[in-house]
Structures are given as structure tokens and as C-alpha cells.
Symmetry: C3
Subunit: 355 residues, 3 copies
């Protein structure tokens, strides 16, 4: 299979809910420019950001109540995408025969989730659980955004193989006993888990102070959960050796990857914690630190990788050398490929045969 | 018909005459880089701006009398494009077998008009009348230039559908009774007219003072004349209700659109007036104001439209929704298409059949 | 023949030896990104700058002794390109089945020479003599680098036709008797010579002082030697009329052209002299002056030429007008074409027939 079209029947993260507190937001998702706003009844409208008259972005116009008014000749479109105001008609009547496409969209876990495929299949029940980002009040979860100049799957690769931390982010695991870490990868339905146990993990004095764990050596985990099309939770936690995770420090993080184009990715992220959750200054500092790492360490590396891959989006076609920690990345690619093929109309038997 | 080549047998505006007061001007017109200068006898030379030796722009060289000397190895070319100086020959003799293409060009109505097609067909009598730009001394006509990142026909569309003014240029028609305006479109030979009457037009106190019309409500017109390949005059005027245009304020404007490439347009414009014609400070102020509108309101909108159209230049192929004020734009596109087909060698019967 | 692939079995200049005094240097040569370093035994390593695991530049990693360690997941590669360290193996064992391509490279005449073709054919004995750059202690030879946005062959054209100096670099030959210069072009094996004699050459008072030649008129030469793929020496010298070159001023220069891509060229150059060879301030001044000329006079002209040539790399296909001083340029192109065809597997009889 030579092309890798975007998966359609899946929930993509289109932004943070807080972005809709203003008028509207325009963002390109899977090569489609989408304009979103929160209507007066609280529902989220997500429309093709392209007026069907002269093909200009509706986001260059303005919002008039629950209507977007085109900034060129004034056509107005409602929450469901139909033209509700044509200034060339007596009384500004709308025209039912004119409309822009509206996409199912819901606000959940501090994020906006959009469905680019068949609206009849859009079930919010399939949105993976990221309640630590909003609903679970044990956590503070400051968020951020980074634009990655790389295909979304190679950004996911980065997160699914944490061995890169030792080389790309020196300092993070200093002092720890890398050889003692244990990794296990397993698929559960449409979900993939890459579980990492760290039975002996070194804490620097600074961390001990910050985390309130008065031990030089602790045990910990870094369990990564992946769901299509590339929404990941990394459940990182540390606790006293022999103790339990419930008494420990939990720092789950969210990594929500949405293709802007084949070669660029929206990276919405959250870095949560179950300690000092009212410390806003700490939250702000963490956001700066994480953004710095993503944009000056991972970002340039992934951009360079994409540059070498050129117009190719499927790493596998370039026949990379395979190392032990590649397992989870390879499995997620296989799961994505199966879903894309299934959407393209092949039945599962054919998919298996074609592998 | 899938391609939209440039019309060849038509006069394009290549610049303002005043630009030739210096040495020479180089400009890309219909994808051809042209170098122009005014020879000592007053005629305008317009040559391919490309030395036939190593294919560098002649405009990187210098003018020596009525000759352009290539800046690389010194070949010299005269007004008619033939090589009149070869430094490698004894006595710097020219070489008749070497030449660059010369284009018919004339200076008229403050502009330079160039003919990109068959020189035998170049009749300056077919240049549309823009005498308010220069020859008619009732008018002052300050001029300006804006570079538009859009196909020339979608820039013309903008000018042929003035309903956009209400949305893209708020403030301009404030207070006026839009519903009372009357529009009529008609074709006269190769010329298209979109006539607009405003029987009840509101004048703000500032306009009353500027225009010397002491009435809150006046009547007016905004008649747009279009000729191929996209040279438009908008005859705007206002006068006291029941009075005549001759006693009124006349503010004709010129909009001279020349394709630089398929996706970019030279927009030469003039904003004339029949009042305070010696007020240079007013002229300067008007140029700044018009340039601001074209480049910060129309320009970004048209650039966004072209971005959505991608490599397409023919709006119609994208099947836009059609609104009432689109009539003139559609007619001008049809007239252009007929002329392009005629140039491509189809007779008119075939053209009609192919529509 | 419609394509002009890069010649492979030839020595390209990859940089100056002094650049390897630091850690490593990464540079694109003939569209290949190469990373180079000088190993502890003094040999030069030149490797594909692309990790075979995730296709990122090895030069984004770091040097650990004579090994390059990938900055993403830590694979280490030795001087010969094989993987000598895999952090995922017990004891960081290497993996012999993983490697990056290593290219023959030698350091000579102050430059690094790399062989992009069959290693079995890489004979350093075929490197042209540029001993005035380093080994010949009669000369000081300050060096510099200019990036040219043009195909390497049109940069060579520029150097093989010095008639351009009169137009592109006014001032350099002012006062000299151009008509009296004599030129002769000859091929000697794989080497091309364009010899220029200047029996009557004018020296300005400044030059007389700088060069220590107290005569207004001298005689001189400017013999250009070209070798594939575009490494040129220009043996410029001046001496008193009736005297000999040995007693004169010699200012040989090196012009080492290496394709970065089809459309951009690394221009490594040296401007040597046999006078005031210990005057570092003079050397610094000359480097600034030469760089200024190459980058503000030749550079823009060649960039404009390439822009007109578009994606074409073979000037001849565009059917340029031919002038007398084009002889050497045409011969060098022909010699390049023959070698490329020979590499492509045609025998010489076919090459001649195909001309
Ligand atoms: S482009 Fe939107 S109304 Fe005309
Ligand atoms: S490029 Fe014009 S004379 Fe050589
Ligand atoms: S990319 Fe080099 S080791 Fe993974």
C-alpha cells in the first residue's frame, strides 16, 4: 500500500476547550481548514473554514451571535453549516441550498475532539479517558502546545520509545540504573500499552524536595497508553520501595497528536501532577520547561528525520534498522494501517493477507 | 478547457510613464521578464530582459545611450533588440544574428501599454480611454501600485462586485440606503459595463466638507467599465438630488490589472477627482488611504482565496455558489475565455458550442 | 542525453583541512549529506550523515573518541561506518550488520578530498596539484568559502571566460590594453588549459607599491587550469617587460567547485601570493576583498542565470549564443559529459557518435 491517507472515523483533538472562550479558532486538521466556536448553548460548532462563494476563510469574517459572517460579501452560516443570511435577498433571508460541512465535535477532558469521518459513527464513548486533565480533582494539569514539523506517526514513535530520553534529554534519568528497567508491550482491543517498570530509580536531592519523597532510591513506572490516531497518556509515578503507587508521586502526562498535514503535527500536551496542585507558579514553570524540551530537543530531531524522509510518510518503506525498543512503535503503526485499510473498504481477512 | 493561458493580442499595462524617467525598469509580465526604457526620441523600448549569451537579466547591466549593455560580458542591445555591440569583435561591431525580442509599447494616459502578441496586430487605437488619468485637465489623478498575490481574474471579480465594500471595507458606505441601489450589466462590443445608481446616498459631515456638497442626502453613480485583459474604470460621482453630474463631485478611478504570473498580479491604480485638483497634500493623503485599503483589506482576502484555489486559476471549475452580484464577473470571465479560445485558433462557432 | 548526473569517480573538495580541527563537519555534497572528522590517527573519516535507525543526521549527535554517537537513541558508528555501540545490547556491544556508508577521503593541499564513487578506483595520485595552497613555502595562501546559488558548471564557465572581468568587476583591469591580450586553449589528458598572455598590462601606483614592481607597464599571464569536476587554478603573474616570471609577482589562485545540489555549489577558494607572505593583516584584507567580489558581483549574476535556467542544469540545451571566449567553457563541458557517459557505461565510440 503506497499511500497513507488520514484515518477518518476516529476522534482527533482539535484544540483545548479554553481556546473557545474567545470568538472562534481556525486550525488545519488533516489538511482541512476548520473553524470552531462554542455556541450559546455550549455545544461546539466545527465547520469547514471556507466560504462556498469565493473560497475565502470564514475565519476572516466575524461572529454575529451563533452565526459566522463571511468577511467578503457577508453570507452568514449557522452552527450546522447552513446559510442563514444572504444579504442579497430581501430581508437577508438565508439559502438552504448553500452550506459548509459541519463536523461532530465535543468538549471533554479539557480538549475539543472532532470527528472527520462519517457522522453516523461518531460515538463520544470511544474517546479515551484523559480525566486527569480535567475531571479528576486529585491532579493539576497545566497544558501547552507545540507545532512539530514532522508526520504525526514519527512523533508518536518518539513517545513510544522512551530509550531516547537518555540521549536526547540528558540529565533527566541521571544516576538511575537503566539496565534494571523492564518493558512490556501489549495490545488490549484498540489500545496499546507499553509498560515500563523502574524497580531502582535514583532521585536527586532537588527531586526529593520537590516530590516530597525522602529516599535516594525509589521504585516507579512509566506506562504509556496509545490509542489511534495518536493520543497518548504516559502514567509516570514514583513511590518508596516496598510502598504503593497510591502513596507516591503521580505525574501522568497527555500527548495528543493531530496531523495538520502529512508533514506537520499539532502536539497538544498536558503535564499533570498529584502534588502541590494549587501551586500556579509551579505549573507555569513546568509548562515552560516542557515546552523548551519538546521544541529544542525533540522538535529539531523529528524535523530532521522528516527532512530525510522527504515526501515519504511511512517510515517502514525506507527499511529502517530495527532495535529492541521499537516494538511498541511498530505495533501502533500496524494498528493504524489496519484501520486505514478497513476504512478503505478491505475486510479484515484481506488486511491480514496483505500484511 | 483545462488551461487558462494568458491572452496575447491585447494591451497590457506595464507600468506608469513616470517610471521611465530613470534609466530603465524591469518587470515580469505574463511570466516574461521585460526591461523597458524611454529612448532619446521618446519612444518606449520593451525587450525580453534576458541576454541570449548566458541568460542573465539585461537589467543587471547598464544603459549606455539608447543601448542596454549586458553586465556579464558586455553585449549591447538597441531599442529594436538587435545586438549593436560585441566587445569580442574588432571595433566592437554588433552581430545582426543575435537579438532579444522587442515588444510594441506605447505611452498613453500616464501608463505604458505593452503588446505581448503578434506585433502586426498592435493597434494603439484599441487602448481604452483613461484620459482622466492624464489628458483631461479637469482632474487630478494621483497613482499607486499594489502587488496582489492572486490571479488577475479574481482581482477583477473583486472590482466587478462592489457588494463586498459593505463587508470588507466597513465605514465607506455607512448610513446609505443599500437596498435602494440599482445595478445593470451590459456588454458593448468588447467592453463590459456594470452600472450602479444610488438615488439616495448619505454624506457624512466630513464628506460634505471635503466634497463641497452641502446636503445630507445626494444621488450618485458608480459605473464600472471593464475591458480585457482587466483594465477597469470606475466612474463614481455624486450630485445634489435633482441636479446633474456635471455640477457634482466626480471621482473616477482606474484599476489596471496585469498578470505577473498566473498567481500574482500587478495592480496599477489611479484615484482621480475634479475638486481641489491643485491640492498636492490631499493627493498624497488619498494615495496612502487607498493603498492601505487595497493592501490590508482586499489583498489578504484575495491571497487567501488564491491559497484555497491552489494551482487552479479558473474559479468556475471549482463550482462556486452563484449570488446575484456575480453577473458582471461571470460575463467578463466568459469574454476572456472567448478571446483566449479565438487566439487558440477555434472559430466562434466552436467557442459557442464548447461553452 | 537529458540528465546530468553527478560524476562519481573523481575527487571532490569537501572542505578545508582546518575545519576538522574541531569535532566534526557536516556538509551536503552531490545531494548526499556527509559527516567528516579527523580520527586520532590523523586519517579523515567521511560517513553518510544519516543514522540507519530513524534517519536523523549523525551530526546532531556527538563525538565520543573516534566514534560518532547518534543523538536520538545512541547507536555509535566508527571510522569505517560500522556500528560499534548499541546501547540496547548487554555491554553496549556493536552490531556488525548495521552500518553507514564510508567514503574514501584524504587531506592534501590544505583541502579535504572525497571520492563519491567506487572506492576501488580512488587513487589520491589523481588529485591535481595545488601545492601553492600549502606545501610550497614561497606562498602565503589565505582561503575562503562562498556559497553559490547556481549549478557548478556555470560557476566554472564564469572562471573559464575571464572577459567577464571587464564588465562584472570594473576597476580590476582599468588602464590595460585589452585588445593586446592573447588567449589559447588546449587539452592535456584530463586537464584543460586556458592560457592568457598580457604583453602590456598597466599597473596603478597602488599596485606598483603593493607588488614592489616600479614600472607603469609590465607583462603578465593569467593561465587557468581546469580539472574535473571543477577544480581550477589560475596562475596569474606579472613581471617587468623583458624580465622573467621568476623575478615577478605571482598570485596563483584556487577555485574548488563542489556541487552541493544540482542548483547550488560550494566554492572553496584560495588567493595566494609570493610577496609579503608573513603579512597576516594583508592576508585578512585580501580574503575580505575577494569574498566581497565573489558574493556581491559574481554570485548574484550566477544566481540570476540559474533562475532563468530553471530546473535545467545543462546550459547547452537552452541553445545559448556562442561568443569567442566561450571555447574553454564548452570544452570543459564536453569533457565532463564524456566522463559522465563513460560512467554510465557507454564506450567511447558511442560517446563520440552521440555528440
Ligand atoms: S466569499 Fe463569502 S460571501 Fe462571497
Ligand atoms: S551573458 Fe550577456 S554578454 Fe554574456
Ligand atoms: S535514530 Fe540513531 S539511534 Fe535511533
Amino acid at each position: 500500500m503506497s499511500d497513507t491517507p488520514f484515518l477518518k472515523n476516529v476522534w482527533y483533538v482539535a484544540g483545548f476547550g479554553s481556546e473557545l472562550d474567545g470568538d472562534f479558532v481556525s486550525r488545519t486538521i488533516c489538511n482541512q481548514r476548520i473553524v470552531m466556536f462554542r455556541a450559546s448553548d455550549g455545544t461546539v460548532a466545527a465547520l469547514d473554514d471556507r466560504c462556498p462563494h469565493r473560497f475565502v476563510p470564514l475565519s476572516m469574517g466575524k461572529r454575529v451571535g451563533d452565526m459566522l459572517q463571511c468577511g467578503y460579501h457577508g453570507l452568514g452560516f449557522g452552527v450546522d453549516g447552513t446559510c442563514v443570511d444572504n444579504p442579497n435577498q430581501p430581508g437577508h433571508d438565508g439559502r438552504k441550498d448553500i452550506c459548509v460541512r459541519a463536523y461532530p465535535a465535543v468538549e471533554r477532558h479539557a480538549a475539543i475532539w472532532i470527528w472527520m469521518g462519517d457522522p453516523a459513527l461518531a460515538d463520544p464513548g470511544t474517546i479515551p479517558d484523559f480525566s486527569f486533565m480535567a475531571e479528576d480533582d486529585r491532579f493539576a494539569a497545566p497544558t501547552g502546545y507545540s507545532h512539530m514539523k514532522a508526520n504525526a506517526e514519527i512523533v508518536a514513535d518518539n513517545l513510544l520509545d522512551l530509550s531516547h530520553v537518555h540521549y536526547l534529554h540528558p540529565g533527566v534519568h541521571d544516576g538511575s540504573d537503566f539496565a534494571s528497567f523492564r518493558n512490556e508491550v501489549k495490545q488490549e482491543g484498540d489500545t496499546l500499552w507499553s509498560m515500563l517498570w523502574r524497580p531502582r530509580y535514583y532521585l536527586s536531592p532537588e527531586r526529593r524536595a520537590l516530590w516530597g519523597l525522602d529516599a535516594e532510591w525509589v521504585e516507579g513506572q512509566g506506562h504509556t497508553r496509545w490509542d489511534a490516531p495518536g493520543v497518548l497518556a504516559v502514567y509516570t509515578a514514583f513511590w518508596k520501595q516496598g510502598g504503593s503507587i497510591e502513596q507516591g508521586v503521580q505525574i501522568p502526562s497527555a500527548h495528543l497528536l493531530t496531523p495538520e498535514t502529512e508533514y506537520t503535527t499539532h502536539y497538544f500536551w498536558a503535564t499533570a501532577r498529584n502534588f502541590q496542585i494549587d501551586n500556579a507558579e509551579l505549573s507555569a514553570r513546568q509548562v515552560v520547561a516542557v515546552k523548551e524540551i519538546f521544541e529544542t530537543q525533540d522538535g529539531p530531531m523529528l524535523e530532521a528525520q522528516q527532512a530525510f524522509m522527504g515526501s515519504e510518510t511511512d517510515l517502514i518503506k525506507l527499511r529502517p534498522v530495527v532495535l529492541k525498543p521499537d516494538t511498541a512503535g511498530l505495533m501502533s503503526r500496524r494498528m493504524m494501517k489496519q484501520r486505514r485499510r478497513a476504512e478503505a473498504g478491505m475486510d479484515m481477512g484481506e488486511v491480514m493477507a496483505a500484511e
